[in-house]
């Protein structure tokens, strides 16, 4: 198993992560420089080139690889201008000179450009490229991808995973704990928003991150969405290895160092005895609302391996939510948990 570990970007974090890095740690990744390109996620610390030099040397001394993620879903066409081309080429050239092992991008043009101009850099397709079929995987391979991070929406669709594996003779990565909503209606818009918010230049003066707030409210109103979202439990990694997929990427570079280390250990141990919410990135705000005993989800993978994704006919995830989800209640300075059905007496379901 190879684990790809998130890194918030500051050197102190890297040292702490490396101090506790497990034997499965393979690559550590962070965002690139926003002066050049934004990112698909919140970036708390964007390292300058001299920091990337230091951190690359530090990781290589420890026999670990470094990945730079530059995966905005929208660049406003800038990449197809001569000025944009020169800027990106210059930056990728710098990363190449530094000895960065991989660059993750979402934009097809940048994949081809990296392949052509910098053949030594491993080119990784971002999950933001939404590779969810063998055909799309082949397109990206044709462009020159060395590795593909699959669309997390197919994490529980084993037929498609197997079919992609049939055609893609490259490293396939699965994002294990992103835990975005399954078939999220906000996904494209939210990535586009992040793309612009994380890049330098004219940022829109937004009144709120509508997509995030709506996503959290949806989950509070319909807790079964937390179960439906396509996370992979540490205990279930073996089911994917049986398909020949052994590279697992963790999401969470905007989380704390401790959170990242604990997640890394859980996936490395292939076991976590606690609240599943502790491991999930996107809905981490709700870890003080829901308690989902991870061990009680044992065996659910068998259902998901044959899941047809017709939730309205199936009801497995909804029934699982009713069975396992507990809701925190704070009373008399004590935190207790209540079964979901005790809280949900009138609520409709999605």
């Amino acid at each position: 198993m190879k684990l790809v570990i998130p890194h918030p970007g500051h050197f102190l974090a890297l040292k702490e992560i490396c101090k506790e890095a497990t034997g499965d740690a393979y690559e550590i990744y962070m965002a690139g420089t926003p002066e050049v390109l934004g990112s698909g996620r919140i970036t708390l610390h964007a390292p300058m080139l001299d920091e990337i030099v230091t951190q690359t040397e530090y990781l290589h001394d420890r026999k670990l690889k470094i990945g730079i993620v530059m995966n905005p879903s929208c660049m406003g066409g800038q990449h197809l201008t001569l000025q944009g081309y020169n800027t990106f080429r210059w930056y990728f050239g710098k990363l190449n000179d530094i000895g960065v092992d991989s660059v993750t991008v979402a934009e097809p043009y940048l994949i081809e450009m990296l392949r052509k101009e910098f053949p030594d850099i491993k080119v990784v397709v971002s999950t933001i490229s939404h590779v969810d079929s063998p055909e799309r995987a082949r397109f990206y391979l044709e462009l020159g991808a060395d590795a593909i991070t699959l669309d997390s929406n197919i994490n529980r669709n084993f037929d498609i995973l197997e079919a992609i594996k049939d055609v893609a003779d490259c490293e396939l990565r699965l994002l294990v704990n992103e835990a975005c909503l399954y078939k999220c209606p906000f996904r494209y818009s939210h990535f586009n928003l992040f793309s612009h918010m994380t890049a330098l230049g004219n940022k829109p003066n937004i009144f709120s991150d509508y997509y995030y707030e709506k996503c959290m409210s949806f989950r509070v109103r319909y807790p079964e969405l937390v179960i439906k979202s396509p996370w992979i439990r540490p205990e279930d990694l073996g089911a994917y290895e049986a398909l020949g997929i052994d590279c697992f990427k963790m999401s969470g570079r905007a989380n704390t160092i401790r959170w990242i280390i604990d997640c890394m250990k859980a996936y490395s141990n292939r076991s976590y005895d606690g609240n599943l919410m502790d491991l999930l990135d996107c809905p981490s705000e709700l870890r003080d609302m829901f308690y989902i005993p991870n061990k009680e989800l044992e065996g659910a993978i068998k259902q998901w391996m044959g899941c047809k994704k017709f939730c309205h006919r199936c009801g497995f995830c909804k029934a699982t939510a009713e069975r396992v989800i507990r809701v925190y209640e704070f009373k008399d300075q004590q935190r207790n948990t209540l079964p979901l059905k005790e809280v949900r007496t009138k609520c409709a379901t999605l």
Partner: protein, 127 residues
């Protein structure tokens, strides 16, 4: 002073469980803050998830009752109790109970809807 501080999480939990009880559905109060602003207002603010504007119409009395009760427990005498929404959406993202300074009495307390994103649940500024 410590007694007052411990009242804040107590009241967060109370607000959350009371709303869950009368709405009969999960609601999440992420944070309850007691604040003082530069203009001279003071009050409490609860950031929340899971409520929509139609809930305010159905349960307005209950919201005002629990927010008033909590305010009183925290030593506040709010002139204005309101909900903040995400503009252009049905989501309610915060409750505020606020003792208004003279300027804000004029700016916030003297209109039925002083800002498009605010829904006034209780206005005692003129009484």
């Amino acid at each position: 002073m410590r007694d007052f501080v411990t009242k804040i999480p107590e009241n967060r939990g109370k607000l959350e469980s009371t709303i869950r009880k009368f709405k009969g559905a999960p609601v999440y109060i992420m944070e309850l803050k007691v604040f003082g602003t530069a203009c001279g207002c003071m009050g409490m603010l609860a950031d929340l998830r899971g409520l929509q504007t139609e809930d305010l119409e159905v349960y307005q009395k209950q919201f005002v009752a629990i927010l008033s009760e909590i305010s009183k427990d925290l030593g506040l005498k709010p002139h204005l109790i309101y909900a903040r929404t995400l503009p252009g959406s049905f989501e309610v993202v915060a409750f505020t109970a606020r003792e208004l300074c003279n300027r804000c009495k004029n700016e916030l307390g003297s209109f039925e809807k002083p800002r498009p994103d605010l829904i006034i649940l209780g206005n005692y500024a003129r009484s």
